[in-house]
């Protein structure tokens, strides 16, 4: 007997958007005591479907067809007031970004008890006791201390546990989780997935879990529905869908999850193009006279050969991005040397750096903020050559070739960045870097903001470009799966220090540190996919 079933659910978008329907005739069943995953890429309608069940669609977006039966009652026909009472009590929801979902100026205890007291007539003290108990169940230590804390004092994982505690405080029968682990580190993600599965089994509730990651699906779901362009392409038992995907798109999604097979072999010995020794970067906290400094990068050494990709893997706060920014001298390191082509560039002045700029280039993480929204693609990618004295005309002539190389139509070069998709923007960012014919390319999480199928294309492009131009590449990522796909060697960082380094094959086959083992074990879908 299903708890929730949607029949031909259609959600209409406002008239001036590029599509008519966000969700187009979706039928889903969620049985009691099971976890159903909706998996899809951005724009697939997976999130809108979840919000429709919750009765919380964005302004202007309306459910115009079909029905959502919850225990036999059509939620689309419920009065707003009745629907409000159901939220929290019958259906609860957790979100991707727990920081945005928590009020930053209200203590955790107050936020957790507010929910309880809004639905049940209990005193503040009883509610607080319940809250502390709930936080304990979520695996949070020192619950009474946490209740007095404010959101910014908690880690990302702690915040998501608090969100889950709040969602579960009224014993809902359905928990909707909208990408709840996407913003978290892998090891934290693994813990939260385990927690959701445990709580679901203990309380025998139903979970509707939204994700873009088939690895996560493999770990958590009983059944899975694959969505694209507002339609369900395929659904069934998870094991069945993973073993014999019926739809070609499902096969593409599963294939796009980096598998960890065909790892690159390390390159033969050669003189390094760049050698970093004892690099240290501290950030002073607080004002001018503040004493406590945070060591973001702590005595890191590495070498990089021509044609080689070195992966720097670590979770947030590991110092991997700071290291990259020191190497490209966006930041000034305090100690250590960066030997590039025989000369130390760690302490060069801005003037001395200028000729070097064109030889070390960078691709950034965020395809939206990394391109100036007010410049055309032509302006963006010729800016580098122009800064180094090339005439605008000559640069423009080369721009077409570079755009073709990264897989873009040169005729689009007079458009503004907002007319391109995330994957295309990342290609523009790469074209900007390649225009200077660099020796070293630093890629800072270049695919972490992209959909999985686009991710696979951009990774392939980066690898092709590296081969063609014999580039040395420093590849920063938090994702072991991605690192496995493109790197000859990897270096694992934690708290600013190198935990382990070696050829990718060796690190994956026989990790020497506990931390690397934990990272590898936390990869979602490991063993199943």
């Amino acid at each position: 007997m299903s708890l929730v079933s949607t029949r031909d659910l259609t959600v209409t978008l406002p008239p001036d958007t590029d599509r008519a329907h966000a969700v187009d005739g979706v039928s889903l069943e969620i049985a009691k005591n099971e976890i159903v995953c909706i998996v899809g890429e951005s724009g697939s309608g997976k999130s809108i479907t979840a919000h429709a069940v919750m009765g919380l669609l964005p302004r202007g977006v309306r459910a115009t067809g079909g029905e959502i039966l919850f225990d036999g009652v059509d939620l689309l026909k419920e009065a707003p007031d009745a629907m409000r009472k159901r939220r929290g009590r019958d259906i609860a929801m957790i979100f991707q970004d727990p920081m945005a979902a928590l009020n930053p100026v209200v203590a955790i205890g107050k936020q957790v008890t507010e929910q309880i007291r809004a639905h049940c007539a209990v005193t503040e003290r009883v509610a607080l006791a319940q809250a502390a108990d709930l936080l304990g169940q979520m695996g949070l230590k020192d619950a009474s201390g946490l209740l007095k804390a404010y959101p910014h004092q908690l880690s990302g994982g702690q915040r998501q546990r608090v969100m889950i505690a709040m969602a579960l405080s009224l014993l809902p029968r359905l928990l909707i989780a909208d990408e709840p682990t996407t913003a978290l580190d892998v090891t934290t993600q693994a813990q939260i997935l385990k927690l959701i599965k445990r709580i679901q089994a203990e309380r025998e509730m139903s979970v509707l879990f939204i994700t873009h990651d088939f690895g996560v699906v493999a770990d958590i779901a009983d059944r899975v529905a694959v969505m694209r362009h507002g339609r369900v392409l395929e659904s069934g038992a998870t094991a069945q869908v993973l073993r014999e995907p019926a739809h070609s798109y499902t096969r593409a999604l599963i294939a796009a999850v980096p598998s960890g097979d065909n790892l690159l072999a390390p390159l033969p010995d050669a003189a390094p193009l760049m050698a970093v020794t004892g690099l240290t970067k501290r950030f002073r906290r607080g004002g001018f006279f503040a004493r406590n400094a945070v060591t973001a990068v702590d005595n890191v050494s590495l070498t990089l050969k021509r044609g080689e990709t070195l992966g720097i893997v670590g979770e947030s706060g590991s110092g991997k991005s700071t290291l990259a920014r020191c190497v490209i001298r966006l930041l000034d390191p305090e100690e250590g040397e960066i030997l590039f082509d025989g000369a130390d560039i760690a302490h060069l002045s801005p003037r001395g750096l200028k000729p070097l700029r064109r030889r070390i280039q960078m691709v950034f993480q965020d395809p939206f903020s990394s391109l100036n929204p007010r410049q055309t693609v032509a302006d963006i990618i010729t800016a580098g050559p122009r800064a180094h004295g090339e005439s605008a005309k000559a640069a423009l002539a080369r721009a077409a070739d570079i755009l073709r190389l990264v897989g873009l139509n040169p005729e689009t070069m007079h458009r503004l960045p907002h007319e391109f998709s995330g994957g295309q923007r990342q290609r523009i960012g790469l074209a900007r870097a390649l225009m200077l014919k660099p020796d070293i390319l630093i890629a800072d999480e270049p695919v972490s903001a992209l959909d999985v199928t686009v991710q696979a294309q951009v990774l392939k492009l980066l690898d092709d470009v590296r081969r063609q131009m014999n580039l040395a590449m420093l590849f920063i990522t938090h994702d072991m799966r991605v690192a496995a796909q493109v790197c000859h060697r990897v270096m694992v960082m934690r708290h600013g220090q190198v935990v382990e380094a070696g050829p990718t094959r060796d690190v994956f086959a026989a990790p020497s540190s506990d931390y690397t083992r934990a990272l590898l074990a936390a990869i979602p879908g490991r063993g199943t996919l």
Partner: protein, 274 residues
């Protein structure tokens, strides 16, 4: 063009723009329509509006109020726009440098900015204008000197958030010079709030100029709305039009500018689009 459609879709913006255009037209054409100038005496003093040949009546000295109002518009708009241009120039430069470089430079420039902000600005302005001798130039410079800090603060705030964007970091890795990054990468993205603040500043500069002229600190050789009110103080109770008409002119002009500012804010602010 989508910008123009967004701007004019607000009725208040349309009204503001129409009013401002009308006032600007009158100001531009004043010497053509009223060639004899605002100081010439045309008849008996304190004739009410509608008296023969006197659309807006005459003032205490028997001068044509309509001519005074038209010439006053020239001064008000000139002072408002010129002082705002100066203030925006100083404010953008200092705010951009402070926000882009941060650290010690920022601390230093912000202390200077605060120095100007903690002094009662109108008192400082009166001292400045009195010290420089009252004239059109000293009024413009004085107003610019007391109003640039608000521009500097807005620009600094925008630069502080924009300088950490990845496209700015990218420009640095490409080897672009700081000046180029400030003017071609960051400034175009910081323009919307600057435009909005400036349109509001024109209005407040007009008010300030009127207050200065009212106190007799305006250019003695020019007639402005403020000095018209100041000169007619004694006749306020017997001839309402001598003070009310220039007062209304100030009010309508400032209101029009505020409407334009609101309209620009909505049209330029991407968060309120759609």
């Amino acid at each position: 063009m989508r910008f123009a459609r967004r701007f004019f879709s607000r009725p208040t913006a349309l009204i503001g723009f129409a009013l401002f255009a009308a006032i600007a037209l009158v100001a531009l054409l004043a010497p053509v329509i009223f060639a004899r100038g605002p100081f010439s005496i045309v008849g008996m003093p304190l004739l009410p509006p509608g008296a023969p040949g006197l659309l807006a009546g005459s003032d205490v000295l028997g001068r044509d109020m309509a001519v005074g109002l038209a010439y006053g518009a020239r001064i008000s708009l000139l002072v408002g726009i010129a002082s705002t241009l100066f203030a925006v120039g100083i404010g953008v430069l200092l705010g951009a440098v402070a926000g882009y470089y941060g650290g010690l430079v920022d601390d230093l420039l912000m202390r200077v900015t605060e120095f100007f902000q903690i002094i009662p600005s109108f008192v400082l302005l009166m001292v400045l204008v009195a010290f420089l001798q009252p004239s059109l130039g000293s009024t413009v410079i004085g107003i610019a000197l007391v109003t640039w800090p608000q521009v500097a603060r807005v620009v600094r705030g925008e630069f502080l958030s924009l300088r950490n964007r990845e496209f700015v970091q990218a420009a640095r890795t490409l080897g672009e010079s700081d000046a180029r990054i400030i003017f071609t990468q960051i400034l175009p993205n910081a323009l919307p709030p600057i435009v909005v603040v400036s349109s509001m500043m024109v209005g407040s500069a007009i008010l300030t100029e009127s207050a200065l002229s009212f106190l007799g600190l305006g250019d003695p050789n020019l007639l402005s709305w403020g000095s018209m009110i100041g000169g007619a103080r004694s006749a306020m109770w017997v001839a309402w039009w001598t003070t009310v008409l220039p007062g209304l002119s100030i009010m309508v002009t400032v209101l029009a500018l505020n409407f334009i500012g609101d309209g620009l804010n909505d049209a330029l602010n991407p968060r309120r689009r759609g």
